[in-house]
Structure formats: structure tokens, C-alpha cells
Amino acid sequence: MENKKQKTVDILKETRKASENGKIRVKEFMGIKKKIKASLKLESKTIPQIIDETKLDASFVTYSLMTMMKYGDVQVDKIDDDDEYYFYKLKEVK
């Protein structure tokens, strides 16, 4: 069964290579995901706090954090006292 499931991608691989852009994006996303997860490990943080800590590009952090939220890695905690920035935390794995 396992072999049969593997088959169609293997057939395609005989004539087509994996996407170079796809490979770059995997590496990029895995990298930033790791950094954001590390940053949120101990406490919830706002996006500027994550940016400060990781020194990553601001809009890339927002984009990636929101993508992580879409796929269930991160959730909203609370908003700050000035109602400006939300705190985000890692989603608890049950």
C-alpha cells in the first residue's frame, strides 16, 4: 500500500525536478518559524518584541507569524495596554 501511495510522485520525478523556488521558500519558512517559536517559547510577545529579539525584517516577521497562525502554530494572547499591538503565544499542543 505504502509503495502504491509513493508511486505517482516518483513517476513525475523521472521527468521533472523539484521547484528551486519551492526549495528556497521551504528553507526560509523553516528558518523563521524556528526563530519565532524560540522567541515565543517562554512568554507571549508582540510583533515589535519579536523583531527586536530576532533582528529579522519587520514585515517578514508579520507575514510569517500570521502564516503560522493560519496553520495553527500560534494564537493571539491579549492586546497591550495602549490597544496597539497584540501579544502572540505558541498554541498549546494537547
Binding site: K5, Q6, L12, S19, S59, I79, D83, Y85, Y86
Partner: protein, 433 residues
């Protein structure tokens, strides 16, 4: 034709599965005509399915359009081909013959349950075009939450061929060997409902779209205002700040010869006013300013809606924006001609800017007609041969047009236009019998 037994025969081919195409297909199907509806995207629904609420009633757009989408898919007289491209259409006597290519989505449409387990294991993240690039999506993905059909698709251009999706799919629906399918057709009439293109905000270089992340376009704001939004609420894409001083720049790419689009897009004033009202609800403490040249509130209830928005303290400034500059904190400085106060150049600071992008013609379909020319009007929309009396007629006998393929218009006018077009198509087919 050699492949006569393979030719699929219908009364009408509707091209485009937006609100115009769905409405016309349903009208004609209910009259007993057999319809083939060809949609180039993975799902039917067009732009309307991605909108938040609609002016001036503020009804939920998805709530109106999803029942129509599902009615279209369930109607026995309608055959839908999604992710399909028309290659050619030729006149043959009283009929049109031609070829459609149904492109492979590499996922079996009949067995995929839309469970999204494949998305969970896919390691690739690229821009999500259905969220207008505000977040990422996987290389295998369900296009959007209310897509119809709700079937995954593989974006092979970004796929690393790891095979994780194939391993995890409980329905064995993944098929990387799927090939394009050629469909030959014969129809009596063709109805074009291919809609519009959105103006590319990056072309107004002086507004900084693309360079300044807190300058977004109106469709991105629509997405931020829907329940299936890319962020947890309305936020600045640069740093996740909840904006409290938002500016709208009307006529971005409309009434503007410098970008080749001299006409009014008809809907941008009203959708900006609508978004301003929705923002007042989502962010009660925020200020919203609309920079305009003229406000065109021409439809039923529009002027009252505009007045109501003014009464909610949305500020309207008659001023043409010359340029936008970004400050260090991500705020934006707008340089504008203050038309009502002597035309002096003034500046104003906002923390987010929404460009009210206009509509552009989508006339690609004209090139598939092989033996007769599908004429365009001076603004490159599909030409309406007899705009006043028979608005759906085109330059080719038997080919009709509906919705924004013919000119910019809002949803109520699109539905009216689709109704008129279905009546004209039905009359045409009956006249041949």
C-alpha cells in the same frame, strides 16, 4: 468533425464563473437550456466571494454568493469545468465549435474530501493569492475556505516533490501523473462573463505600493475585513500594529490617463465608503480620512449611505494625492493638493493607507475567436454592439456579454446585466429553431 462522438454538445457556453456567469447560467438552465460553464480558476465565485460586505446594505457578501455558487453546482442543466481554459472557438453554421483544456490539479476532484491533511504536512510556504499575498499558503492547498469545488490543488511550480501529501491523503486522491484533458464542444451560443482585472497598484510608483508595506490596496482591506481574514484583525502588514489613522486614496488607477485608464471605475467611491464604515465598527477608536476628486454616489441609497458615513465622522478631503513617503516608524506622509482651500500642497500623516484601485478590462478571451473578430470598445472592454436596446449583443452573432466584461459596474448592475443577457441568449436560440 473527425471526433464527432467525442464532442460534448450544449445549448450555451458561459465563460466565467463570477456572479455574472453564475446568474446567467442559472437563468438559462431554469429555462431548460443545457449549459457548460467554463471557469479558469480552481473555484467559481469570481471576485464577489472574496468581498467582506456589500454597499449600501452591508449584507455579508459570502452569505449572498455562496448559496448561488452551490445552486450553480447542483443545477442538473449546468456542467461546470473549473481550472479550464478555452483554446479556440470557431463558427460552424449555426453553431460554435472549439476546444477546452482542463488543466490538471493533480488531485482527483471526485474523491478529495477537502480534509486539508495534505496542507498540514506540506513544508512549502508561498504567497497566498486568495489573501492577496498578505499571508502564505502551501504548495498543495484548498484555494479558500468557501471554494467550490472544495478540492485541493497542487501548485507544481512551487512543489518540491517530497510526496508527503500523497503519503498522508486518506482518500488516495493525489495523482502527480494527471495530464491536461482536451474537451471538444459544440454550442449554439456563447456568453462571455469573464469579469474585470484589478489595477496593479505598483504602477502608481509615487504611492509606494510594494515598497511601503503599510500601503495596501482595497482588495487587501476587503480580506482584512472578512471573518476568514489573513490576520487576527485589521493590522498593519509591516509591524502588526492596530491602525488608528487610516487614509483612502480614491481614483488609484482610474480617471488617470498617465496609467492608460481614463475612465471612472464606478465602484471605488462606494466600496471605500463601505470599508470606512466597516473600519469604524472594527476599530472604534480609529480615524478614517478619504481623499477624493469627486464622490460618485449615483445609485439607489448611495447618497444616503455617503451621508451616513459623514455623520459617523469619517473625514472627506477633496484632494489629489501627489506622493506618499514612509517615515521611520512605518507611518506615511501624504502630499496632497487641497482643492477646496485654494489648491495649496499640504501634507498629512497616517499610519496606514488604502489605495482604492480601479477596474481594468479583461479582454483575453477575444483572442480565442478564430474566424470572426470579437470587437473591443475604445476602453478595451468587450464591445456592446447595441448598448441601449440590446446591451448583451457583441460584434459576433450568437456571442453575448454580461457583467464587468462589458464595463465597470457593481454587483446589482452585474446581476441585471446577466438577467438581460440570459433573455437575449434565450431569444437568439429560439429564433434559430
Amino acid at each position: 468533425m473527425d471526433n464527432q462522438d467525442k464532442v460534448q454538445k450544449f445549448d450555451v457556453m458561459v465563460i466565467g464563473g463570477g456572479i455574472a456567469g453564475e446568474e446567467a447560467a442559472l437563468n438559462l438552465a431554469k429555462m431548460g437550456f443545457k449549459i457548460i460553464l467554463v471557469e479558469k480558476d480552481y473555484s467559481i465565485g469570481g471576485k464577489m466571494v472574496h468581498l467582506s460586505k456589500v454597499f449600501p446594505t452591508l449584507d455579508c457578501s459570502a452569505c449572498i454568493t455562496t448559496p448561488k455558487m452551490s445552486e450553480t453546482t447542483r443545477e442538473p442543466n449546468i456542467t461546470i469545468k473549473t481550472y479550464s481554459e478555452i483554446k479556440e472557438i470557431e463558427k460552424s453554421g449555426n453553431h460554435f465549435i472549439g476546444k477546452i483544456i482542463k488543466k490538471p490539479r493533480f488531485v482527483d476532484e471526485d474523491t478529495c474530501t477537502g480534509c486539508q491533511l495534505c496542507e498540514d504536512v506540506c513544508p512549502v510556504s508561498v504567497d497566498d493569492q486568495y489573501q492577496y499575498d498578505l499571508v502564505g499558503r502551501k504548495a498543495i492547498y484548498i484555494p479558500f475556505a468557501i471554494a467550490l469545488p472544495k478540492v485541493a490543488a497542487i501548485d507544481l511550480d512551487n512543489c518540491i516533490l517530497c510526496g508527503a501529501c500523497e503519503k498522508v491523503c486518506p482518500a488516495n486522491s493525489i495523482d502527480f501523473t494527471e495530464k491536461p484533458e482536451e474537451i471538444l464542444f459544440e454550442v449554439t451560443s456563447v456568453l462571455i462573463a469573464t469579469g474585470f482585472n484589478l489595477f496593479d497598484a505598483g504602477k502608481k510608483v509615487e504611492y509606494g505600493y510594494g515598497r511601503y508595506k503599510n500601503v495596501i490596496h482595497a482588495m487587501q482591506m476587503e480580506r482584512q475585513l472578512v471573518p476568514t481574514r489573513p490576520f487576527n484583525t485589521v493590522l498593519r502588514p509591516k509591524d502588526g500594529k492596530s491602525p488608528d489613522n487610516i487614509a483612502y486614496v480614491l481614483c488609484t488607477g482610474s480617471r488617470d490617463k498617465s496609467v492608460g485608464n481614463p475612465i471612472c471605475s464606478q465602484i471605488c467611491c462606494m466600496y471605500s465608503i463601505k470599508q470606512a464604515q466597516l473600519l469604524m465598527g472594527a476599530l472604534p477608536m480609529a480615524d478614517v480620512t478619504i481623499y477624493y476628486i469627486d464622490i460618485r454616489a449615483y445609485g439607489k441609497g448611495f447618497q444616503e449611505f455617503y451621508q451616513q458615513t459623514k455623520d459617523m465622522d469619517v473625514e472627506f478631503v477633496k484632494g489629489k494625492i501627489a506622493k506618499i513617503e514612509e517615515k521611520e516608524d512605518g507611518n506615511l506622509e501624504l502630499f496632497y493638493e487641497d482643492i477646496e482651500n485654494g489648491g495649496k500642497v499640504k501634507t498629512a500623516e497616517h499610519d496606514m493607507v488604502v489605495l482604492a484601485v480601479g477596474l481594468l478590462p479583461n479582454n483575453e478571451i477575444a483572442s480565442v475567436f478564430k474566424d470572426e473578430e470579437l470587437e473591443l470598445d475604445p476602453f478595451n472592454y468587450i464591445k456592446q454592439k447595441d448598448k441601449l436596446i440590446n446591451p448583451a449583443l457583441t460584434s459576433i452573432d450568437g456571442v453575448f456579454v454580461a457583467g464587468t466584461a462589458a464595463s465597470p459596474m457593481d454587483i446589482p448592475d452585474t446581476i441585471l446585466s446577466a438577467g438581460a443577457a440570459s433573455a437575449e441568449v434565450a431569444g437568439y436560440i429560439r429564433s434559430l429553431k
